[in-house]
């Protein structure tokens, strides 16, 4: 329960918007109010005074609300809209089946030879995967700690960034590796064929791992985005539920 529930409820009633957009705006305002409240408490004001001052300070004029609505509806990015989209059960089930397919394929694959051909670019890709894994675990822990919904929302860009980074390293690594190989082939044409086939083997193996990491990042983002949207809706329901 926020100490600003009455204020947020009044503001929410002025927002004639779809539920998802309204939740996002209310969470945004609640977060600003909490920051101002903490600032005034640190300056020595009592809790009541700090709360009253924070409410005064947050501009909720019609113009300011209209601007917030504009930012959160028209100018919302594609990733933000996807994050906020309702994820029906059958879509989540399909994603779970795809993840299961990859896990089962990896478990049943007894041949470890592809990994012997990996290029040096596998190390940054593995580092990206470890960061992604760490980030996902930390985020899941933050969900249970009732972290500020806005902070959780802001951190959603991280898995997308890591997935893109993995793709960039994978494709750039392939290009660099092939460049080096072609150069070596030019200087020793008698070994050109085995050099080329080994380079392609290494590049495809590394690229496959990079793509798998990107897919894992996409799945992590899909799961986290669904959870964040749920938390934001719950927070907004609490704000709207108190008269």
């Amino acid at each position: 329960m926020s100490r600003f529930n009455v204020f947020l409820h009044r503001t929410g009633e002025r927002l004639a918007l779809p539920k998802a957009t309204r939740s996002l705006i209310l969470v945004e305002i609640a977060s600003d109010l909490e920051e101002l409240f903490n600032h005034y408490v640190q300056q020595g004001l009592s809790e009541e005074e700090a709360a009253a001052r924070a409410e005064e300070k947050v501009d909720m004029s019609d113009e300011a609300l209209a601007e917030l609505v504009r930012i959160h509806s028209d100018a919302r990015s594609w990733t933000d809209r996807i994050a906020r989209r309702v994820q029906p059960l059958w879509e989540r089930l399909a994603l779970a089946l795809i993840v299961l397919f990859f896990v089962a394929s990896a478990a049943l694959e007894s041949d470890a030879r592809p990994f012997t051909y990996l290029t040096g670019f596998i190390w940054p890709i593995l580092a990206i995967f470890l960061v992604l894994l760490f980030f996902f675990i930390v985020q899941m822990a933050r969900f249970s700690d009732h972290e500020s919904p806005r902070r959780l929302h802001d951190s959603l860009a991280t898995p997308l960034f890591l997935g893109t980074a993995s793709l960039v390293v994978g494709f750039a690594g392939t290009g660099i590796e092939l460049y080096r190989t072609f150069k070596r082939m030019a200087f020793s044409p008698e070994h050109a064929a085995p050099m080329f086939s080994r380079a392609v083997l290494g590049c495809t193996a590394t690229l496959a791992v990079a793509l798998l990491v990107a897919l894992a990042a996409g799945v992590a983002w899909f799961v986290l985005a669904g959870r964040v949207a749920k938390i934001e809706d719950q927070a907004a329901q609490v704000y709207m539920g108190v008269k």
């Binding site: 998802a20 906020r84 989209r85 399909a94 397919f101 051909y117 080994r198 496959a208």
Partner: protein, 131 residues
């Protein structure tokens, strides 16, 4: 008639997630059509959500297609390293897997993109009429 199953099998195991994604895309298209034509397009939020979903799953299909490509070419090159060019069927199996899966991924994206465009156009047209 047996051409499509044969091509499908040539695409390797990654064709299965691509089929699943295609089914999901069909589900989203049917859901959007239901909201647009049966319910008169009144629930704009759900329709927008469906349209965004089409792009999400289309992008997912392309990445799986490219992954299939990398795996297929890897198999082809592994055959070359093992026995040189003395085993063309093995090289063909890997190359076919690489080509078919990436083409299938791109076709799924193209289909999802076309559905997105047409449904979005219908959605926006409905909104203009309502205004």
């Amino acid at each position: 008639m047996m051409v499509f199953p044969r091509i499908f099998m040539e695409g390797g195991p990654l064709m299965f997630p691509l089929v699943l994604i295609t089914l999901v895309i069909w589900g989203i298209v049917l859901r959007t059509l239901w909201h647009l034509f049966v319910r008169g397009g009144s629930n704009a939020q759900v329709i927008q959500s469906c349209l965004d979903g089409l792009l999400f799953w289309g992008a997912f299909a392309v990445i799986i297609g490219i992954l299939g490509s990398a795996v297929g070419y890897h198999k082809a090159m592994a055959a070359v390293v093992k026995r040189g060019l003395a085993n063309p069927p093995a090289i063909w199996i890997g190359s076919a897997e690489g080509l078919v899966s990436s083409i299938a991924g791109l076709l799924v994206l193209a289909g999802a993109g076309a559905c997105w465009y047409l449904l979005r156009w219908q959605f926006l047209k409905g909104r203009h009429i309502a205004r």
